[in-house]
Every structure is written in structure tokens, then in C-alpha cells.
């Protein structure tokens, strides 16, 4: 009998079927979830939002490509995680930031925070958050010169403080909660519109990409502390980076706890630190620092949350 199917067959271990969801698809979904915010931002701050976002994405992808080439690692740009980092970094800076500074941020995120720590999944801190903090500390003026939203700019006044800055004592009138909800306020490119970020976040939860635990506990903690401090909780939730932080940055897989209890602790911790900095710190905004701090203690949270395994108690 002829051996039609002998020796050419693939023999591999089970399972022989894998889910369609792979890393690129997850990253692709995150990119999609950022699109509403991107549109609002473009509307509010104009064309430079598009170019700055594209510059950050291109820089992150190129840097990752070069890093892999130079360190002779397997090419990983196909997993789209560099695109996500580029987008998130762009969303965390003012729209008038110089391209050079933005590219320095991309270098910090991709090469220092991600690459040198062993690549995707190995980094201890969120690359975009860390890059933002580095830029903020090194280029404070450029990073805190916020363009005013369209309609509020006049011939000679094009920049102004963010709502949180105003709260901290800068000159200006606090915007209405409605303006903040839709995003007609000053601030980093992608953080201004609560509604756009909410749509993106709910989309991620619906697609099963993120669990609701971190965003819900983060946002709830911010609201509760604001209330306790006698301030408007709605304002605090919508101002600054809480929404983008809660849905897109604090939920980063590699740098947040893996088990539900750990996620809860992480979310509450982020909320607490954010509000402590906002209320008592010298900076108006504390989301990035809060997330970075919690990133650092994530491994300890994971260790703390031992899990009860089915059966096997006696053995």
C-alpha cells in the first residue's frame, strides 16, 4: 500500500487548535479603542494632533525595529505593541510639543523601559508613563504649556492652564463639567475627552481585552477621596489623566497584577496616590506618578495574592 501520508506529517503536541486572539489582535483592539479620543483631540487642538501622533508611532516602531536589529533579537514590531506605546505617549503630551522632545520620549519608552528590560511583557513600568514622567521632569516648561482648545484661543493667547492647574491656583476660569465631559478643555492631547475615553474603555472591556476591576476601582477611589475632601468628584474624575490612565495605562498587562484581588488593590492604590498628589503635592496632576508607583509594587501585590487552586489540598 502506498504511503501517501507518511513522514510528511507534522507531529506536534496538543492542542492543535488555538484561539484567533493573538498579541497583535489585542494591540490592534487597543489602537481601535484610542481612535475616538484621537478624533476629539484633533477637533479640539487641530492638525498637529495628527502629525505628532504619527511622529510618535513612527519613532516607536523604528526604535523597536532598530533595537531588535542591533541586539540581534527576533523582530517584534509585528505585535503592534510599539504602535500602542507611541500612541499613548502622544496622548500624554501637549499637542504643541516639539517633535524632537516627543522622539526623546519614544526613545525612553521603547529602548530604555521596554527593550533593555527584555521586551514586551518583561518591563517593570509602563513605557509610555515612564517616558512621560521623564519628559515632564526634563522639559517641564514645554510639557506644561498647554494649548487652549479651539474657540478659546484669541489672536495673542493660544495657551493656558489645565483645569487641574486652575484648581491649583493658576489664573483662569474652571470649565463646566459638560465641557470636560466632551473634552473642550486644555490638557494633554488624548486625555481631555472623558466621553471618548469612556467609549474606548467600554469597548476594551466588552471585547474582553481588559477587566473592569482596575478602571472601576481607580475611578471610584478618586471620586470617593474627592468627595471626602469636599471637592467635586465629577470634576476630579474627568480632569487630567484619570480616564486615560484608568482605562489605558493602569490596565497594561505587563505592569499590573494578574489576579482579581491584585487588580483591585492596584486600582485603589492608583486612585489614592493620584488624589494625594493632587490634594497635597506640588504638582497639579498625579496620575502618572501614581501608576508608576503602583507598577513598581505590582510584583509584590502578585505575590501577596496567592490563589486557591482547585483540589490538591492534602497533597
Amino acid at each position: 500500500m502506498e504511503n501517501k501520508a507518511n513522514d510528511t506529517l507534522i507531529v506536534s503536541s496538543a492542542p492543535h487548535l488555538v484561539s484567533e486572539v493573538d498579541t497583535s489582535r489585542i494591540m490592534g483592539t487597543v489602537i481601535l479603542a484610542l481612535v475616538p479620543s484621537f478624533f476629539v483631540s484633533t477637533y479640539v487642538f487641530g492638525f498637529r494632533v495628527i502629525t505628532l501622533t504619527l511622529v510618535c508611532i513612527a519613532a516607536c516602531v523604528t526604535l523597536e525595529y532598530l533595537f531588535n536589529k542591533i541586539t540581534k533579537k527576533k523582530q517584534t514590531i509585528g505585535d503592534l505593541s510599539a504602535v500602542v506605546t507611541g500612541m499613548l505617549l502622544a496622548f500624554n503630551v501637549p499637542s504643541n510639543l516639539s517633535y524632537i522632545i516627543a522622539i526623546i520620549g519614544c526613545f525612553v519608552a521603547i529602548v530604555i523601559v521596554k527593550g533593555l528590560f527584555g521586551g514586551l511583557g518583561q518591563n517593570v513600568a509602563n513605557p509610555a508613563i515612564t517616558a512621560r514622567i521623564v519628559l515632564f521632569l526634563s522639559f517641564t516648561t514645554q510639557m506644561t504649556t498647554w494649548p487652549l482648545p479651539r474657540g478659546q484661543q484669541t489672536a495673542d493667547v493660544v495657551t493656558g492652564p489645565t483645569p487641574l492647574g486652575i484648581l491649583k491656583g493658576a489664573n483662569g476660569v474652571l470649565p463646566s463639567n459638560t465641557d470636560m465631559f466632551f473634552g473642550f478643555i486644555g490638557g494633554s492631547m488624548g486625555e481631555i475627552s472623558a466621553i471618548a475615553l469612556l467609549i474606548g474603555g467600554i469597548f476594551l472591556i466588552w471585547r474582553g481585552i481588559i477587566s473592569p476591576i482596575i478602571p472601576v476601582s481607580f475611578i471610584a477611589t478618586v471620586a470617593v477621596i474627592a468627595l471626602a475632601a469636599g471637592q467635586d468628584p465629577v470634576f476630579h474624575v474627568m480632569a487630567g489623566g484619570v480616564m486615560i490612565g484608568a482605562f489605558f495605562m493602569a490596565t497594561d498587562y505587563a505592569t499590573s497584577p494578574i489576579l482579581p484581588l491584585g487588580k483591585l488593590i492596584f486600582g485603589i492604590g492608583c486612585g489614592c496616590f493620584t488624589m494625594i498628589i493632587r490634594l497635597f503635592g506640588s504638582y497639579p496632576e498625579g496620575v502618572s506618578f501614581a501608576i508608576l508607583l503602583m507598577n513598581i509594587i505590582t510584583p509584590h501585590i502578585d505575590n501577596f495574592c496567592e490563589r486557591r487552586i482547585f483540589g490538591g489540598v492534602k497533597s
Binding site: 504511503n3 501517501k4 503536541s13 496538543a14 517584534t76 521586551g119 487552586i309 492534602k314 497533597s315
Partner: protein, 438 residues
């Protein structure tokens, strides 16, 4: 049994039950059958025939004196053309009794419906039937039915979940041989002194559930209940089934009998129903043949010992050159190296793939997404297990309970980085065993 709210973690896998409407076709007797002498867990059989002997259908051709063994019968009538040594599908040595079929299919004179007066007689008859766990485990049934604590066993659970994608052979049995299932169940319950029976069936098989229920009614409503289960993977795994039906937690290595239950697959039970009616031993098996490289997907009743290549030919041959052939389902089945291997008792599917599904996906970095944690029915932590395997850290592996892993493959299936997590656990178990034997 009370309604249970709690379920074990599970995953959704595509069902791909393409052959669900395919009524079982009886395959014509092939020219030659190649009957393996190791078709069960335990000691292989020694051939009872030699080259040139003439054999009849149902005649025992292999047996062993070791308790952990069951006899093997000829599936055809004809002449033994040789006893061959060959490579088995897991790479080991295997003895094959090759029989040239005369196509007359004369029944062996010794065949008669067994008497089952006492429990001992029943157990003896089950052994003589050649039955092994047909759900895939191939554990000798007469040993399973004879636990030390038989007086404590109260519950028969019949596994009709069939949660593996593609496979529909159990489903066809439930629809086509409903009466044999209920008769078999009643017989087993009576003989082993069990009070209650449950048939767990995934709710994506409403016709099977309805057929079983109406047959139970027809039989005067004995204490057998059909339990519809969620169509989730791995609903049909033994320990998952025990939990979902009774709420009892079963550890790895523990016998279901210790929890007062005995678990049998629907196909095994249907076979018992049939065997005690006509005495024909286990000589044929229903097999789902499917996959993108087969011309005509079907459910086929093939004589045991039929070469896979012959089954393929009966199903219209390969549509395109096959890249991967599986014995069993895509989640836990085994990829075999050749289509020249014969069908054995516990085969329930032959899946043949040529397309993308055949390829081994490239592994990428773990992104710490936690999907594997959420998939594992036993709440194991595959990422920690993998790193412990990498370090060959037997202590950590034991602490993380690698032995509880049933290699269901859910974690590997769900991993977006395509990491071979369940395979890793297999290695992990070996490391622990090695450390324990030191």
C-alpha cells in the same frame, strides 16, 4: 441533586461539529485488518493465534494473565496472515495481528449473550467483552467497575459531554443507540448497586438530550436524569464532569469511586447495553472523520484494526495532501506520524488537516495578560509553572500543583502569545516524578 450555581473556569472553543447530521455509515470490511495488541492502559496482550490460523468475527485473538488487561477480539473472519512488530502511534513498540478478511463475516461459535447473575459474573463478562474506557482513556472497564469500596459507590455518571471540537461520534450514539445507553446504564446501576444515574450532555446537543429523556420515560422513569451542561471546554474532562454534576472536588490521582461515583462514557455504556443483548464483543468503533483535507466528512463505524488510510479512502480520500492527522480531537488528540496506523478501541475521531490549522504557531513573548489563569478549570497558574519548568524547580512545581494539571490544553488554546503551556506542564510533571523517585 441541587441546582448548582458555581462552575469551574472554562473556555469557549469553536464547536465545528460539521458531521453532527451525518448518520453513522458502516464501512465495508477492508481486505486486511491490523489489530494492535496494546489497546488499553496496562499490560499488552499476547497473541492467541498464529500465522495461518483461521479466525471468525468476535473470536478472542489476544489476552493476558495480568489483571490490568482486557482481551482483544478479531473484527473480521479470515486468515491470520502474520504477526507484525511495528511502531505504535506514541513511538513505542507494538505487536499487530494482521488478518486477511474473507469478507464472509462469520460469527465465532463462542458468542452468546452473557449471563449476569452475580456481580462477579457481570464483572467477568465486562472483561470478556474487551471493553475499555471509550471516551479516550482506554482504562479497562472491568477494573473501574470493581473498586475496593464498591459498597460506597452510589452514583453512575455517564459522560455525554463531547466537548472536543469536530467530534460527533458520541452525539450520534446518543441519537442512534439511545435504548442501548439506557439499558446499559440500568444494568450497570443494578449490578453495582448504585441508586442514581446522571447523564451529562452539553446543551449544544438538544436532540440527544430529548432522545435520552424520552427513552428514560419509555423505560418507566428509572432514577436516571439527563443533566444539560454548558457547552464549554473542557466539560467532558472526568474531574470537571464530576464537579459539574455532583459539586464534588476530585483531585488528580483520586479515583471517582472514592467520591462515591463511577464515570463512564456514553459509548462505553451503549456498548454494555448492546453486549448483554447479543454478546458481540468490542470489534468496531464509531469514528468521526473530519478536517479540511478529507473529501467527505462522515461518521463511520469501522472494524477495529482498519488502517486509517482505508478509512480515509472510504471517506472519498484526501482532498489535498494532509499536513497533520489527529487521533482524537484538536484539543487533546494526538498528531500521528502515518496514516498506516490502525484504528484502536478508544479512537473516536480521525481529523485530517492541510490548511492553517495544521501549522505550529510561532511562540512569542508572554504579555502577562492572565488569560491562561482565567482559562484553567483548576485555577493553576501556567506562567509560573512554565518558569518553574525552565528552572527545573521541582519544589516550586509541586507547590504550584503541577500534578493537578489534566493537560486539557485550555491555557495553550487561549494564550495570545501561542505559548505551549500545557505541554510545559507535561514536562513539569515529569520533573516532579523524577524528583520524587530520587
Amino acid at each position: 441533586m441541587a441546582e448548582k450555581k458555581k462552575h469551574l473556569q472554562s473556555i469557549h472553543v469553536p464547536h465545528n461539529k460539521n458531521t453532527v447530521e451525518c448518520e453513522t455509515e458502516r464501512m465495508p470490511i477492508p481486505d486486511f485488518v491490523y489489530i494492535s495488541m496494546s489497546q488499553h492502559i496496562g499490560a499488552p496482550c499476547r497473541p492467541l493465534v498464529k500465522k495461518g490460523d483461521s479466525v471468525k468475527v468476535g473470536q478472542p485473538i489476544g489476552d493476558s494473565d495480568v489483571p490490568m488487561s482486557v482481551p482483544i477480539h478479531s473484527s473480521v473472519s479470515g486468515i491470520v496472515s502474520g504477526i507484525e512488530e511495528s511502531r505504535s502511534d506514541n513511538g513505542g513498540k507494538n505487536t499487530l495481528v494482521v488478518i486477511e478478511a474473507d469478507k464472509k463475516q462469520e460469527l465465532w461459535e463462542g458468542i452468546q449473550a452473557p449471563k449476569a447473575g452475580s456481580r462477579e459474573e457481570f464483572i467477568q463478562a465486562v472483561r470478556a467483552s474487551g471493553l475499555v474506557g471509550l471516551g479516550g482513556a482506554a482504562f479497562p472497564t472491568h477494573i473501574k467497575y470493581n473498586p475496593k469500596n464498591i459498597q460506597d459507590v452510589t452514583t453512575l455518571i455517564i459522560n455525554g459531554a463531547e466537548c472536543e471540537p469536530f467530534i460527533t461520534s458520541d452525539h450520534r450514539i446518543m441519537v442512534e443507540e439511545t435504548e442501548n445507553i439506557i439499558d446499559g446504564a440500568l444494568l450497570v446501576m443494578k449490578q453495582l448497586g448504585m441508586q442514581e444515574g446522571f447523564i451529562g450532555v452539553e446543551d449544544n446537543k438538544p436532540d440527544a438530550i430529548a432522545a435520552l429523556r424520552s427513552m428514560i420515560e419509555q423505560k418507566g422513569n428509572p432514577n436516571i436524569e439527563v443533566i444539560p451542561l454548558r457547552s464549554r471546554y473542557p466539560q467532558g474532562a472526568e474531574r470537571v464532569m464530576v464537579y459539574e454534576v455532583t459539586g464534588k472536588t476530585m483531585d488528580a490521582g483520586v479515583l471517582p469511586a472514592d467520591l462515591g461515583v463511577i464515570l463512564s462514557n456514553v459509548t462505553s455504556i451503549a456498548f454494555i447495553g448492546q453486549y448483554f443483548k447479543n454478546g458481540i464483543p468490542l470489534i468496531a468503533k464509531r469514528i468521526t472523520v473530519d478536517g479540511d483535507a478529507i473529501s467527505r466528512p462522515a461518521n463511520v463505524l469501522c472494524p477495529i484494526g482498519t488502517k486509517i488510510a482505508d478509512v480515509v479512502e472510504f471517506c472519498g480520500g484526501y482532498k489535498e495532501p494532509p499536513k497533520k492527522i489527529l487521533m482524537g480531537g484538536p484539543m487533546m488528540g494526538r498528531a500521528i506520524f502515518s496514516d498506516q496506523l490502525p484504528v484502536i478501541k478508544n479512537n473516536n475521531a480521525i481529523l485530517i488537516f492541510a490548511g492553517e490549522q495544521a501549522w505550529v504557531k510561532e511562540e512569542t513573548a508572554c504579555i502577562n495578560c492572565g488569560r491562561c489563569y482565567r482559562a484553567c478549570p483548576f485555577k493553576l497558574m501556567p506562567t509560573l509553572l512554565s518558569s518553574a519548568v525552565k528552572r527545573r524547580d521541582a519544589g516550586a512545581l509541586e507547590r504550584l500543583k503541577v500534578m493537578q494539571c489534566m493537560e486539557c490544553g485550555s491555557c495553550s488554546y487561549i494564550c495570545p502569545a501561542r505559548r505551549p503551556l500545557s505541554f510545559n506542564n507535561k514536562l513539569g510533571k515529569a520533573i516532579v516524578k523524577e524528583a520524587q523517585s530520587k
